[in-house]
């Protein structure tokens, strides 16, 4: 089962944690046990028996004395993280035990640490840019606008933070994703708490907003040892009749897969479907297969193959009884990762979807999360993944059919060039039919949402707004 590559953040930002907590004798024993567990798991379960050519035993022998001498839980955790970093692969990391504090007998009811500002970030040329803003969020109500740069969050200056992450990411390919997540964790916090955020608009003018974090709309869900996360799903008709679908995670299949199927059913003979996977870090790999089944009618098709040490497992698609056969556009960016890449890359390989945007994160290793003796979570990749075309997604990502670079100026104008490119393509694929009320033209304000008579409240609110309004639009995610 694939899980989001959420732990990259832990690897990179370990130095920003709370004050060190000294180790008790029992904690020292548990920490050593955890170190050995992590090391042995990689030795025994890494899909490559040669562990990608690194001398794993030598790394153990080098770091074991350091873990024995560690003076705090945090220091020990950083040593384990450093050991995993030597693999230079995604989906290896440690989740601090504190991340599980919210998990109790009723984890899905605990939202105390789920406070969000509503800001979705893009990191462009080393700058954290507001890419989209959730409706009815603190950021939208405070008048935050897309295209603004996040300069400072509370006491943290963002530029040096991003520089530090860039320095730690030797390959550079994950810097943007990691930096966006690092800033996001500083924006997030406990529910009802407030955070001061300093922005710079496109002209360089500094603006400070005090944002009261709140629980974002969606369903709080847990999956195994993954910390609780809010899953949201949005489907709406654009003015040309196209169906626009966005969801933030491949989790909670009874919600996301079910609504995905409903949205495609509603689309019927509409001009096409746009699936927005920008910013989607992935989740359960099996959901990629299940959702592809709504789009592929031919049996025995695969998205790709997962190669474990002992066996390959095909990511096979089981066609649904009712399959949407119209054109499909998938929107991606550098934060599109993991299961999102499997889904987008597989459908691209099958010539079933056309991909728009920027090269994806290239963080696509199937992984698991287990709990360590000291209570920390441990995520490890147990397989490699090769897309249907034979392409390794890890390190390479999905290369869009139509490359549309992120553009701060467009964001600041409330435009979404990636969405616009997809809509232009859909127009060439088919003439608008059901639901089409206005012919698409380029530019802000000319693509709008039309109400769907068949939609029910259970599928979430239907926006009647233009998808490009400022500041509450979801753009450039």
């Amino acid at each position: 089962m694939r899980l989001p590559a959420i732990l990259i953040l832990v690897l990179v930002t370990g130095g920003f944690g709370p004050a060190a907590t000294p180790l008790s004798p029992e904690q020292r024993r548990l920490t050593l046990d955890s170190f050995e567990y992590v090391w042995a798991t990689v030795r025994d379960k890494h899909w490559d028996p040669k562990i990608s050519g690194v001398d794993w035993q030598a790394i153990h022998d080098e770091l074991r004395p350091r873990i024995e001498a560690a003076q705090s839980i945090e220091e020990a955790r950083q040593i384990v993280a450093a050991m995993l970093e030597r693999l230079h692969q995604t989906h290896f990391g440690v989740i601090p035990a504190s991340a599980y504090d919210a998990i109790g007998d009723s984890p899905t009811n605990d939202t105390s640490n789920q406070g969000k500002t509503g800001i979705e970030l893009r990191v462009l040329s080393g700058h954290a840019i507001v890419g989209s803003i959730a409706q009815n969020s603190a950021a939208s109500e405070a008048g935050v606008q897309t295209g603004w740069e996040v300069v400072r969050v509370a006491n943290t200056d963002i530029a040096p933070l991003i520089a530090q992450i860039a320095a730690a990411d030797g390959s550079g390919r994950l810097t943007d994703t990691m930096a966006a997540r690092a800033v996001r964790t500083r924006l997030d916090g406990s529910t009802t708490s407030e955070v001061a955020v300093e922005f710079s608009d496109i002209s360089g003018k500094r603006i400070t907003k005090h944002l009261s974090r709140r629980v974002e709309s969606g369903d709080l869900t847990t999956f195994g040892f993954l910390p609780p996360m809010v899953v949201s799903f949005e489907a709406k008709k654009l003015r040309g009749g196209e169906e626009y679908i966005h969801f933030n995670l491949f989790l909670k299949p009874d919600l996301v897969v079910t609504r995905f199927g409903e949205a495609l059913h509603d689309c019927g003979h509409c001009p096409g479907v746009i699936i927005d996977l920008r910013g989607n870090p992935g989740g359960l790999g099996a959901m990629a297969m299940g959702m592809a089944g709504f789009l592929i009618s031919q049996p025995d098709q695969v998205l790709g193959t997962m190669y474990m040490r002992s066996l390959p497992i095909r990511f096979v698609i089981f066609p649904r009884p009712e399959v949407f056969e119209g054109p499909v556009a998938i929107l991606v960016d550098g934060s599109t990762a993991s299961t999102s890449e499997i889904f987008a890359g597989g459908l691209q390989d099958l010539k079933r979807a056309r991909v728009f945007g920027e090269r994806t994160a290239g963080a696509a290793l199937p992984s698991r999360i287990e709990r360590l003796p000291n209570g920390d979570g441990f995520q490890y990749a147990m397989a490699n993944y090769i897309s249907r075309s034979g392409r390794q997604l890890e390190g390479n990502g999905v290369i869009p059919d139509v490359n549309v670079p992120a553009d701060r100026k467009a964001l600041s104008e409330g435009r979404d060039p990636v969405l616009e490119a997809a809509l232009r393509w859909l127009q060439t694929e088919t003439k608008p039919r059901v639901g089409a009320q206005h012919k698409l033209q380029d530019g802000a304000g000319e693509v709008a949402v039309v109400p769907k008579a068949s939609r029910t409240e259970s599928r979430g609110p239907v926006s009647l707004e233009n998808p490009f309004p400022r500041p509450a639009a979801r753009l450039g995610r």
Binding site: V257, L284, G290, M308, L311, I313, F318, P319, R368
Partner: protein
Amino acid sequence: MRNIICAHIIALVAVVASPAADLKTGDAVLDNYVEATGGAASYAKIHNMVMKGSMGMPAMGLKGALTIYAAEPNKISLVTDLAGVGKITEGSDGTNAWSHSAMQGPQLKKGEELADSLREALFLKETQWRTVYKSAELTGIEDLEGKAVYKVVLTPKTGAPETQYYEKATGLMIRHQSVRKTAFGEIPVDVTVGGYRKECGAVTMPHSVTQSVAGQKIEMNVDSVDCNGELPADAFQPPAEVKALINKQ
């Protein structure tokens, strides 16, 4: 690996035997455990079964409820409801076999995978194993985790051979291994069986199954077994999406 869940069924509905000594053939090992645990007559009194319990993947923190309905001659429905995953259904109505979940959608099994599922669905497989297997060969007595076991290789009429291990001292089947040909590929499955208790009057059954597949352990524990009760009318009906696929055939 939804289909692999079905591999448990053979263990969950298996009836085990009292100690067997000096057994010379696979047939003798299999027949002996049937006789020693109540005999064919006791099996014949059971026409259906409902098992309820739990299923989990402890290493990943996944757990949930498990319900199995089984009835003669070869109907079965296994439903798990895992937190964060939702319901996963595996079933057979005696003709079709399927799996279904919100996560992966409906699968109507074909070919060897269908044959495997129908074989596993055979309700009284312990007494009727000859109807689905060509042979049972005793390949030797081995040491398995400190226990002397009979190793029996069963060759089905359709599909790949399976290996079962019967404890010599007790006659209980404690492990079985097979390679399942599935839509996902050929998946080795290694199942450890235990927790034997008497149910349905006179038959001893295993109540715990640990399955190792693709490096993961899946645990199933049965808390209750009810025999010969009234089953829900739709117990073996395929989910609507599967039914639609059947109708499209």
